[in-house]
């Protein structure tokens, strides 16, 4: 198991009920798991806990058997707002984590170029961040996250700040990249369509109880197409669950 979440609860001081309640989840190496739910269901809290940016009230998180006590490079996060550094160029941003990890310049360069090519940004490698589009920024952030070679890659609604067209294009690319690299990914989204499109499993969080309402295995072969009948059916079924809980 790449990631094990055991009896995880989070209770914020100023709220009456627990944001997260007794979450149990296991993610296998190479698995793509999506957490779906309406806003306020605690999905971002869950990601922050796994990332180590926040501490749980109860329960524990294990990555490859090691208990999470704080943030670390084994759980890189790709954020909704790209989180790229404006004082660095595209390729320097991709190299950042590798530099922190103390890799040699040659390795940094080689791997950065490899992942930039994967996200089709090799021609923009020396651009400053402010000169590339929002979609390209998220691709840079994706290349940066991939280059870290983390045990688990955490994605916090990475495409939701983009326009629909760009966001669809990027998730298509992410699917392709995942099929090539088989990274272990925990992906947070409010979009059921995105979750069904990308995930091996979709975890539905309930905003009422703060616990897992359902876990749905997505047995559709990749590459997936959003207009295929089985895709549409599954999407409707999960959407009903997400909404049903929200009412």
């Amino acid at each position: 198991m790449a990631l094990i979440i055991k009896g995880l609860s989070k209770h914020f001081k100023n709220s009456e009920k627990a944001t997260l309640n007794e979450i149990n989840l296991e993610i296998k190496t190479g698995e793509f798991v999506c957490i779906a739910g309406t806003s306020g269901c605690g999905k971002s809290t869950l990601l922050n806990l796994v990332a180590g940016l926040d501490k749980p009230t109860e329960g524990e998180i294990l990555v490859d058997g090691n208990r999470v006590t704080g943030p670390g490079a084994d759980r890189t996060v790709m954020f909704q707002e790209h989180g790229l550094f404006p004082w660095l160029s595209v390729i320097e941003n991709v190299k950042f984590g590798m530099k922190i990890a103390g890799m040699s310049n040659d390795v940094q360069e080689k791997r950065a170029l490899y992942y930039l090519e994967m996200v089709h940004l090799q021609d923009y490698k020396d651009y400053p961040i402010h000169q590339i589009s929002g979609g390209m920024r998220q691709r840079t952030a994706l290349a940066r996250a991939l280059s870290m070679d983390s045990k688990v890659l955490l994605m916090d609604e990475p495409f939701s700040a983009l326009d629909k067209q760009t966001s669809n294009m990027l998730r298509e690319e992410l699917q392709k990249i995942w099929m090539e690299t088989k990274k272990t990914i925990l992906f947070i989204t409010h979009s059921v369509e995105e979750a069904v499109y990308l995930g091996d499993r979709v975890v539905v969080l309930s905003p009422v109880t703060g616990s897992i309402a359902d876990i749905i295995k997505i047995d559709i072969e990749r590459p997936r197409h959003v207009y295929a009948t089985e895709f549409v059916n599954l999407r409707h079924q999960i959407l009903a669950e997400v909404r049903g809980e929200a009412v």
Binding site: L53, P71, F79, G83, L84, F85, G97, I100, P128, Q131
Partner: protein, 251 residues
Amino acid sequence: MNIIFFLLVLVLFWQGFYWIGVDIFRWWKPYAVPSPAGVAERFITLLKSGTLIEAVVNSLVRGITGYFIAVIIGIIIGLLISHFNYLQKNLKPIVLGVQTLPSVCWVPFSILWFGLSANAILFVIIMGSAFSIAISVDNAIKNIQPIYIKAALTMGANKKQMYTNVIFPASLPELVSGLKQGWSFAWRALMAGEVMTTSTGLGQTLIMGRDLADINQVMLVMVVIVVVGIIIDKFIFSVVENRILKKRGLA
């Protein structure tokens, strides 16, 4: 070019007022009102005798020395304040308060401790600018977007890497404008110190003008102080500032 034309017009008006008020109607005493011609005359005399150059160089060297010491002290205090919560809560309010003291308030202490020496002036400069620099360092770090810190943390950055690779570059634009403000504080404190003590420099040249009842020399020194201030701001700080902002697409 526009600004040069504007300045020329301004000087013409000034000379015009002088003629009308002093030469023609004699409303004002000539020893109380400077004239452009008088200031220019003093400028040439003091330039020829070397007094002016010597004063500018002395003041600049003193100002820059004091400023650099103030920058080092200010950055250290600023980093400590921003890093330790205890100091943030307890020391920062005091630094903020002391920073509001006009630098001339430090002159009595400086003379008592260092005599009428160049060190006394350095002391006034340091006290006059180090605290404002400390506050800007703390603010610059506080205003860093949290996502930069979060992103670096989840890429495994330790404390030292965080400071060198994220906190320093992320706060750089604000840091530079804080240092720029620190310089203007230092430059003003320098004048306060020079006027009060006795070391050759622009401040003493100004006081000499007063003692000789030479209002044109007083005015000349004031103009020189302004011009030197503008030159340092435009050709050093603004250049650095613009380069940083441009690189990040902020200017």
